[in-house]
């Protein structure tokens, strides 16, 4: 069946089976392959996207359920080709990743946190990323990245609230 989805600020259309997950639809129909399949049963968080700004599992949602929401994928975070958002750049600064597979989900989870709380405590950060499993880093440099991004965002002299 036909779905109309608002992805990264653009209206996109596809013809999908009702049983097709949002994750598979993003990857296969829209070639947004930055969202990854990890467990496909809602535990690991590699498939995380933002649905109306909330970090959500795209493997637990059918594409046909996503109609009418604002969907943001990792591809929607970079302000321009070759240019990184503050959170993305912070992950580079602290090396908050290794293999990169959980990274898009981690960054979106961190981004969603910082959108609602620009002064998170360590506990806030740990809680915000606790639904995203990373097997490489042990989370230390991910927490540092989000702390670093928060600091930079607080000090930035730009209005916030929209996409960074």
């Amino acid at each position: 069946m036909k779905v109309k989805l608002n992805i990264n600020g653009q209206q996109r259309e596809a013809d999908v089976e009702p049983r097709k997950t949002l994750l598979d639809t993003l990857r296969e129909d829209f070639l947004l392959v930055g969202s990854h399949a990890g467990c496909e049963h809602g535990v690991c968080g590699a498939c995380t996207v933002l649905i109306d700004g909330e970090a959500s599992r795209s493997c637990l949602m059918f594409a046909v359920q996503a109609d009418g929401y604002e969907i943001t994928t990792i591809e929607g975070l970079a302000p321009a080709p070759g240019e990184l958002s503050v959170v993305q750049d912070a992950f580079c600064e602290t090396h908050g990743l290794q293999c990169g597979y959980c990274t898009p989900g981690m960054i979106l989870a961190g981004h969603a946190l910082l959108e609602r709380n620009d002064s998170p405590t360590r506990e806030d950060i740990v809680e915000a990323i606790s639904g995203n499993i990373c097997r490489c880093t042990g989370y230390g440099q991910i927490v540092e990245a989000i702390e670093f991004a928060a600091d930079r965002l607080r000090k930035a002299n730009t209005p916030r609230g929209g996409r960074s």
């Binding site: 089976e17 049983r19 097709k20 990857r27 070639l31 947004l32 392959v33 930055g34 969202s35 990854h36 399949a37 990890g38 467990c39 496909e40 049963h41 535990v43 690991c44 590699a46 994928t73 990792i74 591809e75 975070l77 970079a78 990184l84 993305q88 750049d89 992950f91 580079c92 600064e93 602290t94 090396h95 990743l97 290794q98 293999c99 990169g100 597979y101 959980c102 990274t103 898009p104 960054i107 360590r122 950060i125 740990v126 809680e127 990323i129 606790s130 639904g131 995203n132 499993i133 990373c134 097997r135 490489c136 880093t137 042990g138 989370y139 230390g140 440099q141 991910i142 927490v143």
Partner: protein
Amino acid sequence: MSSGAHLKFVSSNRRVREDRRFVAGQGRYVADVALEGLLHVAVLPSQHPAARIVSINTAEAMKMPGVHYVLTGEELAKATEPLMNGLDTPNVRRFPLAVGQVRYAGEWVVAVVAESRAQAEDAAEKVKVEYEPLPYVIDSEEAYSPSSPPVHAEHGSNLLLDKTFVWGEVDKHFAESPRHLSFRVVWGRNSTVPIETFGVAAKWDPWREILDVWASIQMPKFADQIARSLRIPLNNVRVHNDVDVGGSYGVKRGIKQSVIVSHLARRLGRPVRLIEDRLDNMRAGDAHGPDRMFDVEVAFNDDGIVKSMKMRALDNVGAYAGRSPFQLGKPIGAIVGPYKIQSVKYHAVAVTSNKAAQEAVRGFGQAPTNYAIETAIDKVAAAVGLDRIEVRRRNFIRAEEFPYLIPSGTHYDSGDYHAVVAKVLAHADYEGLMRERDELRASGLCAGIGISACLEPSGGNSAFEPLLNEKNTTSTWMESCRINVDGLGFVTATIHTPSSGQGHETLAATVIGEVLQIDPDQIRIVRPDTLSSLPSNSPVGSRMAIMLGGAAFHAAQKLKAKIVRLAAHQFGCAENDVVYEGGTVSNAASKKKLTWAEHVTIAHRNFHLLPEGMEPGLEVTHVMQVPTGTQLPKDGRVQMYPCHSFEFHLVLVAFDPEIGKPTIRRYVIGHDCGTVINPRIVKGMTLGGIAHGIGASLLEEFVYDSEGQMLTQSFMDYLLPSSHEVPHVEIVHHCTPSPFTVFGQKGSGESGYLGAPAAISGAINDAVAPLGISFAKLPIRIAAVSDAIAAAKDENKNKEKA
């Protein structure tokens, strides 16, 4: 060369160049490789741990929408050679799909190919397989018993390896020692479980006779194994090394998956892809880790000095062999840990059982072995009534004793274990930590301190192969690098393996930049496919800082030497009379200078200006042999890996005795991996290794029930540490350069993981020691802790009543 301030890029706190593409979601993993006309595979698993396949009916499946083919094990076995065994066990035959018999629950029986994965899964459900159940064996000791039903009848028993080594005068040392103790510990079957499952895509071009393969792979000699299995020349196989691998830590070795899709791609004339789903991966990705039981006996004196050790390691490798039994061999290179144990008797046993097949896991058997050794040291300390750290210090090899030859034939390169421990204790305030533990205990909690000291052998040769298999004569495990300076003066260098997060592009660029004195960020790093590659053995055995770093270093030195020779020729002076600085070569006497651009012009355009015999262009290659490990084993002894990093863990754990959920309140690790090439990469590996060790010691296990079914098949049952379980970790650095490597670097790819399980186990056992109980099996799950404490309390009450 030792570490030092003279290094400009090496050891400096630079960004990791790979990170940019990953944070933007622009990694290119195997599932992202777009191939026109791609078909998808789903596999049908066996429900039985052991059964004869009576019949397979594929008729209904073939009629399902979108289905192209249903492949059985019988057809595949006729078309291919069995997969490689590490040991000399020709009758333990392994095919990608079961042939005639299934040997573990979950084993793949047929592969269905369809237009989409969903259609292939739908059709797989329609395949009818009739089974006749057979006797099976799950337990390790039962499998070791000659009366157990052999998993491979043709092999005759479940014994793959049963080899005893005696290094030194074990009997004499035991007889001389006033005290002995013995114990058993068990390392539960877990694995690295990367978030990306294994995946592979293959495409056959009959006109060019090329099989293209894209895979999520970390496997030495991967292309060779595909070619052998498919019986095609190796130069018909082109594996694309530029696929990003979403985590591996040893296990991404999907040879059976790759043979299935390669065969299907040739058979169907269409590109074919198999991406495991999580269930495929957990139960039959053949990626479980060691499943090992240790019986240890040590001989020591009243001062806690351990003179000799007897260790029997029994590993349950599952239904097929592969390389997994070698995981009993690698730890021989550090079998005494950081201690001066004078003699060792090591009995290594590998048995088959009706569990899933094992694969290499981070450390290749070293983490379980370290857990056994460290448990022994803790027990010796308790027996003689000394502090556990003091006993370790008394037994440590001293800094001035390196290179130190251990009884099993390996020279440890360098180290200063006492210095690292002193630094950690000062940093952590050990006395304060003990007070904190006692205060926690006084408040009604269980609290304990855990300690472990261990080595990370690094630089991976493969000396355990000939050690355990006399027919194997492997004595090289090379790694390579090629550097080309193009006609406009830009530098491009190659690496010849995929990476799974280790930052190899950063490593190679940093080293080349250091030698050539140019900005590493200006150097392009590429990964040629295997047909264009130099020899490589992939990032195993904690080897790439040493081996890729070494190959890049030597290649860059050759390039520099060529530039120097070229310039000296222009100046008409001796090569010794010029100075290379930042790409410019000068001669002080004549005040002549030649810039980088001028070298490039001469090398690429002015043959008439080249010294006699010099090839035009600026291109060099270096194929590097592993330092030190150049000989085959002799008398059961061999030089295993060249370098030995050291780590010392100090952990404080506390938990409520009713709930039993351990909280790690403090985690300090002292780490010495010699000269660090990129501090951010090494830090990440160490922290990640500790997280993995927390999983192995507290959460993760592939549990089989008595019916041979695996109970922990999803992330709901097989628990991975989240950010809540992994504490803030404090790293205390120390640097003892290795004398065997170009910058003094050692490996760090397995750091943290090799000592964390021992330390956490030690902490929990310290916490429950006042109750008179201990845990001798990993993982120590929450339920096991609270149950054991409740039982101990009941017993104490009963004793009081009596």
